[in-house]
Symmetry: C2
Subunit: 171 residues, 2 copies
């Protein structure tokens, strides 16, 4: 069996979740299965419909339908912890070739669970499973453990010109 | 009609073409149409099969089935110039909501056509068309013209550990 690696997409630029979606698309094209877990977010994104297009692609959100302001609520923590438990089982089962842990770095930033818990989960994965972690502010311990890390660096963004998130482009 | 912006994904890190694929997937999920032009590359990539999964998604390669070493051949130049002409027509027609010009920065790096020609093509696009340009070494003139620019910066890559491109992950 091919070894599964750990990939991290972090930084403040646009393209992290998008790259994870692209990776999922390419994997499905090659006949691989993908579990796409989305932490912190629970909003209605266009990409949720990808399950209708892509064979072997499963997506589940473990966040509320609004962003966390200041302090996370008990519900934020509860949903994230439930996600961590489900993803740990999925990773150890080896049922999916690729597991995306989208925005897990943001969940760590808000301390919805600990870095040690995430590292334990990653170490417990079945050998062939490729894992993709996204979100800005990836902790040093995750960077250290990862096999591939790309920083998406914002050079220029149109939100500074007042462009809001558009359906089918950003969300 | 919603204004179409120019997005650039550049830098030496993994995730540029992948982000363009993810953006295409999200767009298709929202009922938008995508023309994905791939310059310089003509190899058999898994993502070519995306046309079988995604409604409204068209992909065409304008490169040879091997990378350019040292100097581009006449065939490299011919294919790229043909791509530029086709893409200019597609962009001005407004037939597609999103046009991806994948690896066009590499085509510019190899001087297969000029920055002025690309800028002219971008300026000639129908108002609502969103354009995505990818590839390392984006020229300053393109960065200047773009509305959004993300630099994918390599922090760590597993090819340094001898991991070769894997079907369904990198290609």
């Amino acid at each position: 069996m091919q070894k599964g690696y750990i990939q991290v997409y972090t930084g403040n630029g646009k393209g992290k979740t998008t790259a994870a979606l692209g990776l999922s698309l390419r994997a499905v094209c090659a006949g691989k299965s993908v579990y796409f877990a989305q932490f912190v977010k629970g909003m209605r994104y266009s990409e949720l419909d990808a399950v209708n297009f892509l064979k072997g692609f499963t997506m589940k959100q473990y966040g509320r339908d609004c962003f966390i302001y200041n302090e996370p609520t008990d519900e934020d923590i509860g949903r994230a912890r439930h996600g961590l438990e489900e993803c740990a089982k999925i990773l150890s089962s080896g049922k999916y070739d690729i597991v995306v842990l989208d925005e897990i770095n943001i969940a760590l930033y808000y301390k919805l669970f600990t870095v040690d818990e995430v590292i334990k989960m990653l170490k417990g994965r079945a050998p062939g499973v490729e894992v993709i972690l996204t979100g800005r502010n990836a902790p040093d311990e995750i960077i250290e453990m990862a096999d591939l890390v790309t920083e998406m660096k914002e050079i220029k963004h149109y939100y500074t010109k007042g462009v809001e998130a558009r359906t089918g482009i950003e969300c």
